[in-house]
């Protein structure tokens, strides 16, 4: 079902954990869908993401996309991190099954939520960042019987 990369990031997830007194924390998703992601960012004075951690409740793809997303934003500036799209996460994982694409959207959204929190805490506005939705719902194909 999953690519080797996904399995690798699922079984050996990078950056699992918490950051105390994080610069920004974002939690997205909900239990109804079965996916909750929380991202902790430690951003230094230059606006560079020094450290990032995550916790995820969800399927293999949810864990793997969280792990990969944290890898992709680590060491980046806030503006660079904003450019990390769900597509980039998916590509870095060599793809996801169609039913799991929403996990990558959720990972993107979790980063944005953490950045939003960081911006709010610092009373700043990050160019190009909109208030994240906490839910990602893809339009599921309507099945007719």
């Amino acid at each position: 079902m999953y690519t080797q990369k996904v399995m690798d990031h699922f079984t050996n997830p990078r950056n699992v954990g918490e950051i105390e007194n994080a610069s920004g924390v974002g939690t997205v998703g909900n239990a109804k869908c079965g996916d909750i992601m929380r991202i902790y960012l430690d951003i230094n004075a230059d606006g560079v993401i020094n450290d990032v951690k995550f916790k995820t409740f969800g399927c293999g793809a949810a864990v793997a996309t969280s792990s990969m997303a944290t890898e992709l934003v680590k060491g980046k500036t806030v503006q660079e991190a904003l450019q990390v799209t769900n597509k980039a996460v998916m590509e870095a994982l060599d793809g996801l099954p169609p039913v799991k694409v929403h996990c990558s959207l959720l990972a993107e959204e979790a980063i944005h939520a953490a950045l939003w929190d960081y911006a709010e805490k610092n009373n700043m506005k990050i160019e190009g960042l909109e208030k994240p939705k906490s839910d990602i719902h893809e339009d599921e194909e309507e099945v007719e019987y």
Partner: protein, 393 residues
């Protein structure tokens, strides 16, 4: 462990070698069309008759009351759609439960879109249908009650006899989806007042692609698959002779071994339950403790999600399931677990383990060890667990 530990016998089972053996001649030697005139084909006709007898015996039916289908799903579709059609004069109302298999639920939803009315009766926290609600749901226009014999996810066995009596008293037909129960627990259709019953061979170590519908003599029912005159004009299509023969053989073996399997499976089940409940915190067992399929265990582990659990078990060579196999890929948690009152996040953390008589205690112990480790690992990365621990401290 090197060897795969298959704990998903509710999804499907290994076809017994004796069953395959019984089927083999019907592929390359006795391959004739049973409807043919020549003597050569009459051996196939006899093979089908034998399988009808073997499968009928399991539920105390007459062989002439058994109609072979391609699956449990087809039997369910047939029973419901053809019954409501045959009894259209009487009414358009169907009663079922909230925890049926999708073969029943989606068929009912389809009919609901086509002018029929469906009542989905609630179950209690153990998954047992609320008989008083069921009785209240009955209308003068009710033509069918369909309630599953045993649930495929949580293993709960329904009070079939009581439902049968209720149906009889009210002169309503009673169908039961016994796909999980057939050959696993004793069933007597006469004693239980069952008018129609669905079963599927691959759940009892028979081949995939063959099922049956028992239709009590006297029940008026139309065809569902139209065409040639097979199955006494009721179910068209060239007979799947090897499949039918395999079903017969599997039924025969299942009936002969029902007691010993039950004993063995219950023992494994109790070992697994006892160890997990005592060694893993924040876990519950879903389904009824007593009225339960011998082979079924269903846990909900708080704070973690089922698919991750499954994949990690898979990496330890353990095959299990979370919710029903058919719904995997879907984002919603199992409708059964929601119906017994579980909140979404707990329903998502469920694990179904269904044993067989080939499983050993050693394998169960290994499985529990793995579950412990994996659950711990997943909780460590769970934001829900983090929140919970922080709140508790």
């Amino acid at each position: 462990m090197e060897k795969k530990i298959y704990l998903d016998n509710a999804a499907t089972t290994k076809t017994r070698p004796e069953v395959v053996e019984a089927m083999l001649p019907y592929f390359t030697e006795l391959y004739g069309n049973p409807s043919s005139v020549y003597e050569y084909a009459s051996q196939n006709k006899k093979a089908i008759d034998d399988a009808r007898t073997q499968t009928a015996k399991v539920i105390g039916a007459d062989p002439s009351e058994i109609y072979f289908t391609a699956s449990g799903t087809e039997a369910d579709n047939w029973a419901i759609k053809a019954t409501v059609e045959a009894y259209a004069d009487k009414g358009n109302h169907i009663i079922t439960s909230k925890i049926e298999h999708h073969a029943i639920l989606h068929t009912c939803e389809y009919l609901a879109k086509h002018g029929y009315e469906v009542t989905y009766v609630d179950v209690d926290e153990n998954g047992i249908i609320k008989l008083d609600e069921l009785e209240k749901a009955i209308r003068p226009t009710t033509v069918l009650i369909t309630v599953m014999f045993a649930n495929n996810e949580i293993g709960t066995i329904q009070p079939i006899k009581e439902i049968g009596e209720l149906a009889k008293k009210n002169k309503i037909l009673f169908h039961t989806d016994a796909v999980q129960a057939y050959g696993q627990v004793p069933i007597d259709v006469k004693e239980l007042n069952i008018d129609m019953l669905s079963a599927s061979a691959h759940k009892l170590n028979g081949p995939k692609g063959i099922g049956l519908l028992y239709i009590r003599k006297g029940v008026k029912i139309r065809s569902y698959v139209h065409g040639g005159g097979q199955e006494r004009q009721r179910r068209a299509g060239t007979e799947n002779v090897p499949g039918i023969v395999g079903f017969g053989k599997a039924a025969e073996i299942a009936l002969a071994t029902i007691k010993e399997r039950e004993e063995k499976e219950c023992k494994l089940r109790e070992l697994l339950m006892k160890r997990v409940l005592s060694e893993v915190p924040f876990v519950r067992v879903n389904g009824d403790k007593v009225r339960r399929l011998p082979n079924n265990i269903n846990f909900s582990f708080q704070f973690i999600e089922g698919e991750s659990l499954l994949i990690m078990l898979d990496m330890k060579n353990i095959c299990a399931s979370s919710g029903s196999a058919c719904t995997s890929g879907s984002l919603d948690p199992s409708h059964v677990l929601l119906a017994i009152g579980l909140p979404h996040e707990i329903a998502h953390g469920s694990l179904r383990l269904t044993v067989s008589d080939e499983i050993t205690e050693e394998e169960i112990n290994y499985t529990v060890d793995q579950i412990k480790e994996i659950v711990e690992k997943l909780r460590e990365m769970s934001p829900l667990y983090e929140d919970f621990m922080k709140k508790s401290n």
